[in-house]
Amino acid sequence: MIPTPDLSHLTKVDYDRVYEPAEDTFLFLDGLEQDAEHIRSLHPTVCLEIGSGSGCVSTFMGSILGPTGALYLCTDINQHAARCTVATGRQNKIPIDAINCSLTSSLLPRLRHSIDILLFNPPYVPTDGEEALDAQASGNISGAWAGGLSGMEITNKLLEEVNDLLSPKGLFYLVALKQNDIPAICAMMQDAFGLKSQTIIQRRAGREHLFILRFERQYVG
């Protein structure tokens, strides 16, 4: 049993500005725990989480691989989230470096085909497109959920980069909602990039039917 990260240092004031871990976060942790042996067996060197928010998920990854087991990088467009991420790492003795930037922009040139574990719990809630765009441009808390049409407008931008980011043995974990059209996401990743996918865990939480998807390269023979 891998312990849930200690978040007792985060306060109501933090959660006014940063998404508070909820059912989606905890399903993500459960999925990663279930995959822990597989993840360890790959001996990852670089882990990157996009939109790390409270830092709960990367800290959990740090518990799976050990504080010195890998490099833990996080990005978030919300500067308060980036601070909470670092603080949560510190609270749990996992060294995390956070960068306040959009998706993977400032890391992509140097980390091409170098990410062994890529994690993304995206803003998956269907909203109107303008709301999603405004949220990303302003870097406020609504960037944690406002996903635009089908809840996929921000995720789609990241999906275009996954193949460039993943190392040959790399795994990409994505949180998705049923309304995001998971068969379409998986078909696109297979057709466009040859990345095979699997649902590793799913759960209904109130109105949301949540999935954790895992993508990896396909090797023939």
Partner: protein, 160 residues
Amino acid sequence: MHLITHNLLARNAKGCTTNSFPLAFRDAHGQVEIQEQDINPDFVCNVLPRLEWKALIDAACQVGDESLPAEQPNMTDDELVQKLHYVLMEIHITEGAMVCSNCEHICPISNSIPNSKPDPKDSMEYFSTLPVAHLADMTDGNGHVMYGANSVAKKRARVD
């Protein structure tokens, strides 16, 4: 921010996609903390092929450390791994700024976090551009179903 992260950061913004690495430290000297960490020699050896040696040496010099050799040694012995661990994982930049040598944009570092956010206008433009063709096909085929306020569920309800 550890120096290993500096070695992986580029500017990469609209209009600045080449020669945007490495970023040069400005005002970082004296804003450096040493945070001790256990060494994992395997990690240091595994990360070595992903580093740009000259950028690492320059960055370390800029923050006052000259422990590493100017040229990357062919052999990775224990002493080098120790030194690398110190420079990569224990030197920590807490405040200051980094400057892109190409576009001269300044990325401030505050509370150990570099700010490399895009201009809001560029962000709007980036996210409003239709994805490449295969993605557009996908969203066109399945995407334009709006689910209304009722199912804009948990993620939003949480913070209201």
